[in-house]
Symmetry: C2
């Protein structure tokens, strides 16, 4: 056989050279063209198929580049040995997904993890992504700096200075795919067996993570200014994990005086540090914003962690950590050998988003959206003033509702669920042996509910809790 | 003042409404328009500026959405209180990067971490990325499954079955941003204080990571089939970390018999596991590919780790881990609370890359490219046969050169550097108290050097080592 009877479809969207390439590839894979078999010359095949010789050249070139055939000078093209060549059947149903048990979705979900995704800046994101991928910048696909791209660290340092009063050199910043990863990295730097002070209730993932890596967590009581520093001083804790801007889940904002006491505690031991988790500091609706704890730190004691997951979208896995200068040596010896977990493409998109002014506009827009929802929710919640007390408002994207009339948490959640509304119990956030609260409290996150949805949901809650 | 004297530039690429929006925003920020000041009506301003009313409407709408002004029904638009509104100065020099000490770049770099980035499938990647971002799929920006998207896990399970003989249900797969992260996650699941067997030399990052998290590493001797299982059995190790397809850095391929011995060792203790790091198994140039160790595992003991960083590009931070079914409970209780570190957009791109047949073509092309470079390098290295022995060839993208004539590693590296060629010493890869090798060995990675570059570089090495 000197010719290949390939039936070409000139009207197809698949280019002719690709049709020839695919036909021959399949013929080789199926054994129709065995090892060492000579292929017709490009001139002959072109004439036979009534296509240009360039078309056949391109098909053969593709086959050579993938190792199906080889060119032997003056002799022609021969089929290669197939051993080792990948033949991957692509799934017949690429859209098929793993069957996982479906959860019944509530009609109204006051999840504290929500983000308003209607406001995601699709156009800006797409444009930045397209521009960056068009650059044909090879460096973009090489492994970058374990701390993250210097350009983005520079931009984040400027942003943190302006928006949060954080004082950081780009050299102190480490990027990571999410706060959880950054906490893992910190644990790996500090080694295990550290004594870490936490509040209760708190961010449970951090608590679990510290415990899993054999650290000893000391639960320290808090009042409505946050962690009680005189109680902290009575423990043997070396590290205090706090969320001064907006404690999760209580929503407590730590006043400046308490921040100063906390910093003073840190200065009293040579190896004391504070982890400041500033996870949703961007949204604050009343009163002057308080600069981050890190901004008051004169003794190089605060490890500052922030994220774009809350302010842009949860699926944007970009968080940042500002290390005190005195920890840089430890980072170099024990942290820097972990490769960066954020792709360079994503780092470039975020940098463009900040530098292009998109982030400023997005933050102001989100702040306005969330403030309206916050105001509507607080107004509506007045209906419950005889049986509930509201707390944790004025910042973040959730509030707490404490039942003063004796309803239990389980009952409040169950009754709401029966009306198609999901609310979340505070008890889940208590860790260690700290005492559970006496009064039942539920959490209402409003980020992903429109004003109308909030009004409708509260109507349902009235049926659930007031009737 | 009822009018705003905005000088509009109709020839600018900035739309008119944006010019109006920006002017008023700046005027509010600078105090020219103070709090509570009423703005001219949209009708009046449109008439005054000689633009359509829609243009002014759009500008005001943008200002309202960002919280600069508010609409009071029947009264008009008023300037809001600015407290809390973000005003971020974007960097004057967005391209400015942190000044970091420049390293002198060698002319020819035999780095073992190289990847041929000329072959990066830019077009396919860009197309997939564009299509996915065009979908306006809100779900894409919500936090996904901690294990990774079910669709991608499904695709990876099929790929691993076909290409590596790995037997995995999508439910057993966990995605992560790089092998380092997956090892951190594993440590966090197992808790600290585990006894882990490793070879020496080995992947130093894994060694450091295990040690940093207070595990005890037992170094087990290896021969040219890999880790010696009878020596392993003499230790108290619970977990063996191995790279059977292509040991890093020695390039040893573990034969089936040794794999079976290793699996038999694992079955002899109720809590014994094997971590199979299959980091660059995709490239193999001689002989039949050997299925992954996991594929022979009948007793659910192997934790399989692989990555797209080596086969696509180092900056693609997507690795995957197949957990034995018996470890799923542990993952659910101690691992699943770490959010997924790979963005959903990247997960969708990778899924499209595999399902669209791009990955098969890319792998075959890379295999052909690397095989040619491998063949050229081995041919050229014959010049050193009187003073060196080659090993670790036939797979992966680096070979080892052991000096039999007494040249030290330091001397070999220094002399090569003087000729502008970077080669890498094996001694860096020895960990723990294992004895250093007697003969000097250097590593030559060839993934990112063209055939011509390899020939030129070896000419330089001849001047360095033979003269």
């Amino acid at each position: 056989m000197n010719e290949l009877t390939i039936s070409l479809d000139a009207s197809s969207s698949v280019p002719l050279y690709e049709q020839i390439y695919k036909y021959i590839k399949k013929d080789i894979q199926d054994g129709g063209l065995p090892f060492k078999k000579r292929l017709p010359s490009t001139r002959k095949l072109a004439k036979f198929l009534q296509v240009s010789r360039t078309t056949v050249d391109m098909a053969y070139e593709q086959l050579v580049s993938e190792g199906y055939i080889e060119a032997v000078p003056c002799k022609g093209f021969f089929v290669c040995e197939l051993e080792g060549i990948y033949r991957l059947e692509t799934s017949r149903s690429p859209g098929r997904t793993v069957l996982e048990p479906e959860k019944a979705m509530p009609e109204y979900d006051f999840s504290p993890h929500g983000v308003d995704l209607n406001s995601f800046p699709h156009n800006a994101w797409r444009k930045l992504s397209k521009d960056i991928l068009l650059e044909e910048n090879q460096l973009l696909f090489q492994l970058g700096d374990p701390q993250g791209e210097p350009e983005l660290r520079n931009t984040i340092a400027e942003y943190l200075h302006q928006a949060r009063g954080v004082s950081a050199q780009p050299e102190q910043i480490v990027l990571g795919a999410g706060n959880d990863f950054l906490l893992l990295l910190l644990c790996s730097m500090f080694g295990t067996g550290k004594k870490i002070a936490m509040e209760s209730p708190t961010y449970r993932k951090a608590y679990n993570l510290f415990c899993n890596l054999s650290n000893q967590v000391r639960i320290v009581e808090m009042d409505n200014s946050g962690m009680l520093v005189d109680r902290l001083a009575l423990t043997d804790a070396e590290i205090a994990y706090v969320m001064p801007s907006h404690q999760y889940p209580l929503g407590t904002v730590m006043p400046v005086k308490r921040r100063m006491q906390l910093l003073a505690w840190a200065c009293q031991g040579s190896d004391r540090f504070i982890i400041e988790d500033d996870y949703d500091s961007e949204f604050r609706y009343k009163g002057k914003p308080i600069p981050a704890l890190q901004g008051y730190d004169r003794d190089d004691r605060v490890i500052y962690i922030g994220t774009f997951s809350k302010s842009i979208a949860p699926a944007i896995r970009v968080s940042y950590m500002v290390l005190p200068k005195r920890l840089m040596e430890l980072y170099y010896s024990r942290g820097r050998n972990i490769s960066c977990t954020v792709s360079r493409v994503d780092q470039r998109i975020i940098a463009g988003f900040l530098n292009g002014g998109y982030y400023e506009r997005h933050l102001n827009k989100m702040r306005a959206v969330y403030k309206s929802r916050h105001d509507v929710l607080l107004e509506e919640l007045k209906a419950f003033r005889k049986i509930c007390r509201v707390s944790g408002e004025h910042a973040g994207v959730h509030v707490l509702l404490t039942f003063t009339g004796g309803m239990t948490e389980t009952e409040a959640i169950r009754r709401a669920a029966e009306e198609g509304v999901a609310v979340y119990g505070l008890s889940e956030y208590f860790v260690g042996e700290a005492k559970q609260p006496e009064a039942a409290t539920v959490i209402l996150g409003y980020a992903n509910l429109s004003e109308t949805a909030i009004r409708n949901a509260v109507q349902r809650l009235k049926r659930a809790w007031l009737s």
